[in-house]
């Protein structure tokens, strides 16, 4: 009954639009598509409302605030600045916007390159199966299942230059110790090391999933033709994993750009702003300094960068499994 009603509505609309074939097809399509029925709207309504209240409206509100010298305590005292906050992005110092952008890209690049390589290697290793490897799957994924804030706290102690486990191990092996997050040159690598430990479990599982759906016949044929393990990987397995790899690269990029917790807890953006990323700077400007308008402008820039990478993923990543 509902379908008939909607179908009639669809037909009516098609007639209003001149009765083109396309419109009629759309009308017939909606007859079958539950999402366009009243019940469909009813079912999706709560989710849409929640998404709207917590994502869509705040996003537009952030755009709006970025045009003001926003007084979060008393918005009636806010002063309109137009694009002033965006201009200040380019002239700000200590830390400068470009420095924090570079820090974000440094972290993101390292996470994408090292994270993808390590998780692919681990997935290939785990794919072999066996008791040890099956147990290792759990061990590798476990860090990702732990709360980031809790593990960051533990790693802060591991990295403690005076009493930490990391330097104790290095010292025991007669290797030079490191200031870790206390050193300007070592702080970002230290945060990256922790982040890799925490994140590769997730991407390894994705690669493992990809490996289970690739076509083994090509590999068997290659082995029959005398291909070695490396040739088999490079010419047979790797090309089939392209959509999975593309997904991992893009999702790691987006998540890395938005990373905050480890920078907050491990390094506090320091020393000397060496680990102040765009996400951390948004926190600092909005929560610590209450420069809400400026922070909103930073958030908008971060949003646009993330949208860019999302679009890249949308345009470049075919559905996983299509090629197999």
């Amino acid at each position: 009954m509902i379908g008939t009603t909607t179908g009639a509505a669809g037909s009516a609309r098609a007639q209003q639009g001149g009765g083109s074939k396309r419109a009629r097809r759309a009308g017939r399509s909606r007859t079958r598509d539950f999402r366009y029925t009243k019940k469909g709207w009813l079912y999706s309504g709560p989710a849409v409302l929640i998404f709207g209240a917590f994502v869509i409206i705040p996003t537009f509100y952030t755009f709006y605030m970025s045009l003001w010298n926003w007084n979060v305590l008393n918005p009636s005292l806010s002063v309109y600045k137009g694009l002033g906050n965006y201009r200040e992005l380019l002239t700000a110092s200590d830390p400068g916007f470009l420095q924090t952008l570079w820090n974000s890209l440094y972290f993101t690049g390292a996470m994408v390159i090292a994270g993808t390589a390590i998780s692919l290697c681990l997935a290939l290793l785990l794919q072999r199966g066996g008791t040890t490897m099956n147990a290792s799957r759990v061990a590798i994924y476990l860090p990702n299942a732990t709360p980031l804030i809790a593990t960051s706290l533990i790693w802060a102690w591991i990295y403690n230059p005076q009493f930490g486990l990391a330097n104790w191990v290095l010292h025991s092996l007669h290797l030079p110790t490191s200031p870790w997050v206390e050193g300007q040159a070592t702080s970002m690598p230290a945060v990256i090391l922790f982040s890799l430990w925490h994140e590769v479990g997730f991407t390894t599982i994705i690669f493992l999933g990809g490996l289970t759906i690739i076509n083994d016949e090509y590999s068997e044929a290659a082995r029959v033709d005398g291909a070695g393990p490396w040739q088999e990987f490079w010419h047979i397995i790797w090309p089939q994993l392209r959509p999975v790899t593309s997904f991992v690269v893009v999702i790691t990029t987006i998540l890395s750009l938005q990373s905050f917790t480890q920078f907050y807890q491990l390094s506090g953006g320091g020393p000397n702003n060496a680990t102040t990323t765009l996400s951390y700077l948004v926190y600092e400007e909005s929560q610590v300094l209450q420069n809400t308008g400026y922070a909103a402008a930073l958030a908008v820039v971060l949003f646009l960068i993330t949208v860019f990478f999302s679009l890249v993923r949308w345009r470049t990543t075919p559905d996983i499994g299509i090629t197999s």
Binding site: A9, A12, R13, Q16, G52, A53, I57, F60, Y61, Y64, N71, V72, L73, N74, P75, S76, L77, A92, S93, D94, P95, A156, N160, P161, Q162, F163, P179, V181, E182, G183, Q184, A185, Y264, Q265, S267, G268, G269, G270, P271, N272, N273, Y280, Y283, E284, Q287, V288, L289, Q290, N291
Partner: protein
């Protein structure tokens, strides 16, 4: 169908606009309930039950139990007033919470606030002057006069009005490992910063680093490392800020103070860390001394755990004398409170700052009492006997330095912390401070 969709779109747009408008209005909601300076003193008499909320950071140890005891005693003495405590882990989350509550139109009655926060709150019209509280106008001056001079001055904002009320104040002191002092042949604690540096260098061997500091960052807020730089500079003759908040980070005194820290690092006598690293190093017998707040006394004792005797002293002197920095957030009353709540808040503020509670609070926590009248209270006697350094240092509250009450000083403090990190990482002291000066000047001009 077209019109139906247009109507739906219009309704959706209206809903978005309404939510945006509501959000905007909610942000300013608290300011609509303005101060009531004309409230009569008669309103101070609490005639019906009233609950006041208090946002604070005393989340652990003796701080927590001492505050709860204070509230219990106050409620017993004022049966119609209930104090609802909301505790935050540190000052960062406290500021976030206070800001969010004000923006949502649900501010607490009383909250802790640093001077720079109070200035922002006051300029945003979300707190009220203390004199406007019902009952305060007649008694405030008398109460105020009992406080140490430095404490009195710390309660005023640039407009000259008293916007804050004191509860706990601290000074920085030095906690030494007495065993290490003895082992290094140091018979008396240093009287000058020069001698202090020599002692640190002499003690830094066999895994011991003389002192470990936290330079600070945006996450941690003001730390002892950043305060130390300010004290060194002031004891060299030039504080890092003028009284109107103008930074003078590039002055010779400040550069000299920074070079002092850099030289200690180069000599292996200074290490850096986070989350009270000096306290940890001292407790682990890996540090000769920790520079920390007097309010950290019980935490230092806990860290040491009886492994060695702790010697507590005042700060050494620089070329122009000894300068200490007073710390400890003040209390503010939010404008959205009802008249009854404001009257109750004034009673609570008076109680907390009175000699009886100040004595109990100080003896329990290590904070200095804000009034000298507390020193003669019975509950203070045994504490003073055990800690003679309190009596010998407390008059510093009369002339200790304090960061000027301007909103931009928060940004400038982070800039100074960054400068310390940069200088200790190899950037020249003058260059690091020049960068901080530039950033702070910009922050000041932006207000």
């Amino acid at each position: 169908m077209h019109s139906r969709y247009r109507r739906a779109a219009a309704i959706a747009s209206a809903a978005v606009a309404t939510v945006l408008a509501t959000a905007a209005c909610a942000g300013g909601g608290s300011s609509s309930s303005s101060a009531s300076p004309s409230a009569s003193a008669n309103a101070a008499a609490i005639s019906k039950p009233v609950t006041i909320s208090f946002d604070e950071v005393y989340s652990s140890g003796t701080l927590k139990t001492a505050l709860q005891s204070a509230v219990t005693a106050f409620e017993k003495a004022n049966p119609k007033i209930t104090v609802d405590l909301t505790t935050y882990a540190s000052y960062g989350p406290l500021l976030t919470a206070e800001t969010a509550q004000v923006a949502a139109g649900k501010a607490p009655t009383i909250g802790q606030a640093y001077e720079s926060w109070a200035e922002k709150f006051a300029s945003s019209k979300v707190i009220v002057p203390i004199s406007s509280l019902p009952g305060a106008s007649s008694t405030m001056s008398t109460d105020l006069s009992t406080f140490y001079t430095g404490v009195q001055n710390d309660l005023k904002l640039p407009d000259g009005q008293v916007w804050m009320w004191p509860f706990d104040k601290s000074l920085q002191v030095l906690f030494y490992n007495a065993d290490l002092l003895k082992a290094d042949g140091i018979t008396s604690t240093p009287a000058t910063w020069t001698q202090f540096a020599a002692d640190l260098k002499s003690a830094s061997k066999n895994g011991v680093v003389g002192i470990t500091i936290d330079p600070g960052n945006a996450t941690e807020g003001v730390t002892s490392g950043e305060e130390w730089l300010e004290e060194l500079a002031a004891s060299n003759g030039t504080p890092v800020y003028t009284s109107n908040g103008t930074p003078q980070f590039t002055s010779p005194a400040v550069v000299s103070a920074m070079e002092y820290l850099v030289n200690l690092k180069k000599e292996g006598a200074l290490a850096t860390g986070s989350n009270y690293p000096g306290e940890t190093a001292l407790g682990a017998k890996k540090g000769l001394v920790d520079l920390s707040s007097s309010a950290g006394y019980y935490y230092e004792q806990q860290s040491v755990g009886g492994k060695f005797p702790l010697t507590t002293t005042v700060l050494p002197a620089g070329s122009t004398g000894s300068v200490d920095e007073m710390a400890g957030a003040n209390l503010v009353v939010f404008a959205s409170a009802t008249t009854e709540q404001k009257a109750a808040a004034w009673k609570f503020l008076q109680y907390l700052s009175g000699p009886v509670e100040q004595a109990a609070w100080s003896a329990a926590t290590g904070y200095y009492p804000v009034t000298s009248q507390a020193l003669t209270e019975p509950s203070m006697a045994s504490y003073l006997k055990q800690n003679p350094w309190v009596t010998s240092t407390i008059t510093e509250l009369n002339n200790a330095i304090v960061d000027p009450p301007y909103a931009w000083v928060t940004q400038c403090g982070i800039d100074l912390s960054t400068a310390i990190s940069a200088a200790l990482s190899g950037t020249s002291a003058s260059s690091a401070l020049s960068t901080a000066q530039s950033a702070c000047t910009t922050a000041k001009s932006n207000g």
